[in-house]
Symmetry: C2
Subunit: 206 residues, 2 copies
């Protein structure tokens, strides 16, 4: 297996498979087929088999996939068979929601620190966290060796925050600010912008 050669589009589907398998496991299921998994995630059975076979032979002809086994394998491939600390920058409504979001822990993530530039917010409690001053971000994040961040600041502040995060050694940024950010090649960025998602659908509406 040569990880570098697997297209990112396939990597992007693995978390969706993993999520569906975890839901199946919660429901007490032990095995599944590419057909059944496909119905859950809206992807063809052939595509799922092809995607998963990139990483090895994880299923058996006739008996399908062992759910706990495939979960373990996908968690290993995606490197979420460990816990990743994530820092949240920007404590508006969205930052609040993320700091208190219960859906990270069983997916491999733990919010570790939250920052805001607004001195009236610094020191406030959000969930179990004390909001820290953004001026301390680079030092704090670097010392804690945190590699992941979620950015929920206004668009105009996003690039400056991204620059600080890169300086602090962060390697993966999930950007909620409604703007593109520029980072060095070795830093990964994903975007969440509800308006962008909605606009992708209105194109198809009457």
């Amino acid at each position: 297996m040569n990880a570098d050669k697997i297209p990112d589009i396939i990597i992007g589907r693995l978390p969706v498979y993993l999520r569906a398998l975890q839901r199946m496991q919660e429901k007490g299921m032990k095995t599944t087929s590419s057909q059944e998994l496909g119905e859950h995630v809206g992807i063809s059975a052939a595509q799922i088999r092809k995607d998963i076979s990139q990483f090895g032979e994880f299923g058996k002809q006739g008996t399908g996939y062992s759910i706990p086994f495939l979960i373990d394998k996908l968690r290993e491939i995606l490197k979420v068979n460990r816990m990743w600390d994530v820092v949240v920058v920007g404590v508006g409504d969205m930052g609040h929601a993320l700091a208190r979001y219960p859906g990270f822990l069983n997916r491999g993530f733990r919010v570790a620190m939250i920052f805001d530039v607004d001195s009236s917010k610094v020191g406030q409690k959000v969930g179990e966290f004390m909001v820290e001053d953004s001026s301390k971000l680079v030092e704090r994040v670097r010392n804690a060796k945190i590699k992941m961040a979620m950015v929920t600041v206004p668009a105009a502040a996003a690039q400056e925050v991204a620059d600080k995060l890169v300086q602090a050694g962060v390697k993966a940024i999930l950007n909620y600010a409604p703007t593109s950010i520029n980072v060095p090649n070795h830093v990964h960025v994903q975007y969440i912008d509800p308006s962008t998602h909605l606009q992708r659908m209105t194109y198809y509406l009457e």
Copy 2:
């Protein structure tokens, strides 16, 4: 132009171009080039030219694109040269954040109603909205002819909510619940799940 033939991957990039152009306009810029736009969004100039040329000749060799003209065209193509009402279902932290999110209005969207199944939340004010009872959802959404929804309920409730929305005539669902949902072919779904986005990046981390 035959809209049906344009790949969805291209449609998915148009909102990103539009967002960058709107940011440029806010900064007072009047014209741009595919090169400059590409630097903003992290996509090659050639790709941008190719994507945009699917819809017509909107730029001029040598002088580039008029920003207000290209904004108008993209808004027209994406059908956000009008305002779309959107309903929010589920008033947890994320539902709160979306109901109060200021980033919809200049992108073509307006939250119109919010619903929750929890009777202790019904009647509460969130932003400028009164939380309504989910039992009224089908009737209310159908009567108001709302075609778009954002779902921020727990995973276990997502399918039932999606079914109700489809029944009410909704044609586009932005699903924040961390699970896939099944809808008829004529209904569009986009997913926002921060854990899925984060897992897509951990794959590449050491």
